[in-house]
C-alpha cells in the first residue's frame, strides 16, 4: 500500500489539476530533484557527464519536443535531425557574431529560430496527413542537412566544414569548450530541462495541449468544435521545434563541442533514435519522454558491456546487434505496449497501490 490514493481528498479544482496530484508522486519527484541538484553535482565525473547524464538531459528535451508533435498532436516527423541541426548552427552563428552574448540566451534564441523553421516546414501539414506528412518532414531533414553542409556561410567558411564551440562562461564558470567542468555542463543542461519540462507539462494540461490532442484524436471533430486546424498544428510544430532546437544547440555547444553536420544530424544517427525514444518511452507522455531518452542513452552502454566486455564480440558486430535490437524493441513495444515504458510505470504503480495484497 505504498501508492495509497484513498484519503487524499481534493477540495479545489486547482489541487485536483496539479502536475502531481498524489502525495507519493510529489515526494518522489522532490527527492529526485534534490538529488539531481544537490548531490549529483558533487560526485559527477567526466565519464558520467559525457556518457550518461548530459546526453540523457539533451535527448530528453529532443524527445519532449518530438512527443509534443507526434505523441500529443499526432503529426509524425522524421525530420528531428534537421531541426536539431538548425539549433546547433544558429548557436554557432550567433556565438561567432555576438561574442558577448550570454550562452543561455544564445541557446534560447536558437530555439526560437528553430521554431520559425519548424513553422515553415509545418505549413504542408494542413493539406497532408499521416505518412504523407512523414515524407514531407523528410524534405526538411535532407534539405536542412544539405544546406548546412553545402553553404559555407553557415560554418563561417572553415576548411573542414566543421563548426567548433568557443568557451563561454555562466557566473564565471566555463560551460562550453574543453575546460568546462562536468558539474557546470550538467547543471546548465539540468536547469534548462527542468524549466522547459515544466513549461511543456503546463502547456499540455492547458487549452493548447487539449487542442493538440483533439487534432490528434479526430481532426474533423476538432475543427467542428472550433479548434483551428492550421493554427493548432503550426503551434505544435513551433513548440516542438523550439524544444528540438534547444536540444540541438546543447548537443553542439555543451555536449560535443565540434560537429560535422552530415555525421551528427543524419536521419539514421538522430531522427530515428529520437523517434525510438518516444515510442519506447510512451507516445503522448511526459514521463515517457524521459524514460525513453534514458533507455536509448543507456542501452548502447549496457549492450556494449555485455557483448564486447563480457562475451568478447568485436565492436562492429556489437553495433550490428545493437541496430537489430533497437528495431526489435520498437516492434515489440508497438505490439505489446504501444504506450511504452510510461504505461509500464503506471501498471507498476497500480501494483504498488495494492501491495502487499495480491488484490
Amino acid at each position: 500500500m505504498i501508492y495509497k490514493e484513498t484519503g487524499q481528498y481534493k477540495s479545489s479544482y486547482k489541487s485536483d489539476h496539479a502536475i502531481f496530484p498524489l502525495i507519493q508522486d510529489k515526494v518522489l519527484f522532490s527527492t529526485l530533484m534534490l538529488i539531481a541538484f544537490l548531490v549529483v553535482p558533487f560526485f559527477i565525473n567526466s565519464y558520467w557527464e559525457k556518457a550518461i547524464l548530459v546526453p540523457f538531459l539533451i535527448f530528453s528535451l529532443a524527445a519532449i519536443g518530438l512527443n509534443i508533435l507526434t505523441g500529443y498532436c499526432g503529426q509524425v516527423s522524421l525530420g528531428t535531425g534537421g531541426f536539431m541541426a538548425v539549433g546547433a548552427f544558429s548557436t554557432y552563428k550567433i556565438m561567432t557574431s555576438f561574442p558577448d552574448l550570454n550562452i543561455m540566451i544564445i541557446v534560447l534564441i536558437s530555439g526560437v529560430i528553430t521554431a520559425a523553421v519548424g513553422i515553415v516546414f509545418g505549413l504542408p501539414s494542413l493539406r497532408i496527413k499521416g505518412f504523407y506528412l512523414a515524407v514531407a518532414t523528410l524534405a526538411a531533414q535532407f534539405f536542412l542537412v544539405w544546406l548546412f553542409n553545402k553553404v559555407p556561410w553557415f560554418y563561417n567558411y572553415s576548411a573542414t566544414g566543421q563548426i567548433t564551440v568557443s568557451e563561454r562562461l555562466m557566473f564565471g564558470i566555463p560551460v562550453t569548450g574543453a575546460t568546462a567542468p562536468p558539474y557546470a555542463t550538467y547543471l546548465f543542461c539540468l536547469v534548462l530541462v527542468v524549466l522547459l519540462g515544466f513549461a511543456a507539462k503546463n502547456m499540455i494540461r492547458s487549452k493548447i495541449g487539449r487542442s493538440w490532442m483533439a487534432i490528434r484524436d479526430m481532426d474533423i471533430a476538432a475543427e467542428i468544435i472550433g479548434v483551428p486546424p492550421l493554427k493548432t498544428k503550426l503551434s505544435a510544430f513551433a513548440v516542438s521545434s523550439f524544444f528540438i532546437g534547444v536540444s540541438g544547440a546543447l548537443y553542439f555547444a555543451i555536449f560535443l563541442g565540434a560537429i560535422e553536420v552530415t555525421e551528427s544530424f543524419d536521419i539514421m544517427t538522430m531522427s530515428f533514435p529520437v523517434l525510438f525514444m518516444i515510442i519506447i518511452g510512451g507516445l503522448g507522455s511526459m514521463l515517457g519522454s524521459f524514460l525513453g531518452a534514458g533507455f536509448i542513452v543507456t542501452l548502447p552502454i549496457g549492450l556494449k558491456f555485455i557483448m564486447v566486455d563480457l562475451i568478447g564480440l568485436s565492436a562492429v558486430t556489437a553495433k550490428h546487434f545493437e541496430i537489430s535490437i533497437w528495431g526489435l524493441l520498437m516492434i515489440v513495444f508497438l505490439i505489446v505496449e504501444p504506450h511504452g515504458l510510461a504505461r509500464l510505470w503506471s501498471i507498476t504503480k497500480e501494483k504498488l497501490r495494492r501491495w502487499p495484497f495480491p488484490y
Partner: protein, 334 residues
C-alpha cells in the same frame, strides 16, 4: 542540333533511367500498401537485404561468419567458391519468401486493426532489424554484385549521337549506362506481368478484393494471411530485382537503403495505390532530380541537390494535389 540541346536530352534520358530504379522500389511499396494498408518503410532495406543475400549465396559466404568466429574463435569464411547465378537468384527468392512469411507471423499478425501510423512505425523498426541482421549475416563491407547484366556506357548511342552535333564542336556523344536500359526493360516486364496476374488469375482477383476491403474479402472466404504473405513475397521479389540493379551499379552497401527512401516522394507524386502512378512518379522524380542537379545546381555553383530535391518536389506537389497524380480523391465524412 546544338550541343546544349543534346546535353539536355542526355540529362532527361539519364533521369528517366534512374527514375526507373525509383519506380522499381516504389512498385513494392504500392503492392504492399494496396493489399495490407501497410506503408512499408522497410522496402528499401528489403532491396539491400536481398542484394546482400544474393552476393552471399553467389560467393558462398557462411552466414553469421563474423559472429561465429568471434564467439568460438573459429575461422569460417566460405562454403564454396561460387554458385551459378540463376541458382543464387532462386535461392534468394526463396529466402525472400521465407522472410515474408516470418514477417507476417511475427509482426503483421499482431498488428491487425492497429492504426496505419503505428504499422508504419513498426516497419521502421523492421527496417532496423533487417539492416542489423543483414550486416550480421553477411558483413557490412561493400560488396561487388555481378549477375551478368551488361553495364557501362552504350557505345552505340555514343556513336549515333556524335554526328548530331554541329560540325566542329567538341561533342563526344551521349552517355547512357546499358545497365539502366536493362533495368527499364525488366521494369516493364514486371509491371506487365503483375497487371496480367492481378487481372486474370484467381489469386489476382483475391488480391484486388483484399485491397478493396479487408472484411468483405474475409467474408467471402479469402484468407487474408495467405494474401499478405503472397504480397510481401512479391514485394520481396521486386526488392530483389531493385537490389540487383542498384547493387550492380554502385556496389551492395548500406547507402542502398537510403537511396530507396527516394521511393517515398515517388509514391507521393504517383499516389499510394496506383501502379502506373509509381512508374510515372518515378520517372518524374528521376528527370526532375537530374535537371535540378545540372541546371539549378550549375547556376548556383552548388552540388548534391539530389539529396533533397525529390522530397521538396513531392512536397510542393502535395500542396496542390494531396492525393497524388493517380490517387483517389479523399472525401472526408463525419
Amino acid at each position: 542540333m546544338s550541343v546544349d540541346l543534346l546535353n539536355f536530352i542526355e540529362t532527361v534520358l539519364n533521369g528517366l533511367m534512374s527514375g526507373v530504379m525509383y519506380s522499381l522500389v516504389a512498385l513494392g511499396f504500392v503492392l504492399i500498401f494496396k493489399a495490407s494498408g501497410v506503408f512499408n518503410f522497410a522496402q528499401g532495406v528489403f532491396a539491400l537485404f536481398a542484394a546482400l543475400t544474393l552476393v552471399g549465396y553467389q560467393t558462398g559466404q557462411v552466414p553469421f561468419a563474423h559472429l561465429i568466429n568471434e564467439l568460438f574463435g573459429t575461422n569460417y569464411h566460405h562454403w564454396y567458391a561460387s554458385m551459378p547465378n540463376f541458382l543464387a537468384i532462386i535461392l534468394t527468392m526463396i529466402t525472400m519468401i521465407a522472410l515474408a512469411w516470418v514477417i507476417e507471423r511475427l509482426v503483421l499478425k499482431h498488428l491487425i486493426n492497429q492504426e496505419p501510423i503505428i504499422l508504419f512505425m513498426a516497419t521502421i523498426g523492421l527496417a532496423f532489424v533487417l539492416e542489423g541482421v543483414g550486416d550480421l549475416m553477411w558483413g557490412s563491407n561493400v560488396k561487388v554484385l555481378d549477375v551478368g547484366i551488361p553495364s557501362g556506357g552504350s557505345e552505340w548511342l555514343e556513336q549515333a549521337t556524335i554526328g548530331l552535333a554541329p560540325e566542329g564542336s567538341d561533342y563526344y556523344g551521349m552517355y547512357v549506362d546499358v545497365l539502366n536500359v536493362w533495368a527499364s526493360v525488366i521494369a516493364v516486364v514486371l509491371v506487365v506481368s503483375l497487371a496480367l496476374f492481378s487481372q486474370y488469375t484467381k489469386t489476382g482477383r483475391a488480391l484486388r478484393a483484399v485491397a478493396d476491403d479487408h472484411q468483405a474479402a474475409l467474408s467471402v472466404g479469402i484468407s487474408l494471411r495467405t494474401i499478405w504473405v503472397l504480397v510481401w513475397a512479391i514485394s520481396g521479389f521486386i526488392a530483389m530485382v531493385a537490389g540487383i540493379m542498384w547493387g550492380t551499379e554502385s556496389g551492395v552497401q548500406f547507402s542502398l537503403s537510403l537511396i530507396a527512401l527516394k521511393a517515398l516522394p515517388v509514391l507521393i507524386l504517383g499516389g499510394f495505390t496506383s501502379i502506373p502512378g509509381a512508374i510515372i512518379g518515378g520517372l518524374m522524380i528521376g528527370v526532375g532530380e537530374k535537371l535540378a542537379e545540372i541546371y539549378i545546381g550549375g547556376f548556383f555553383q552548388i552540388g548534391a541537390l539530389e539529396n533533397w530535391f525529390a522530397y521538396v518536389m513531392a512536397l510542393v506537389f502535395l500542396l496542390f494535389r494531396p492525393q497524388g497524380l493517380f490517387g483517389e480523391k479523399i472525401i472526408e465524412r463525419v
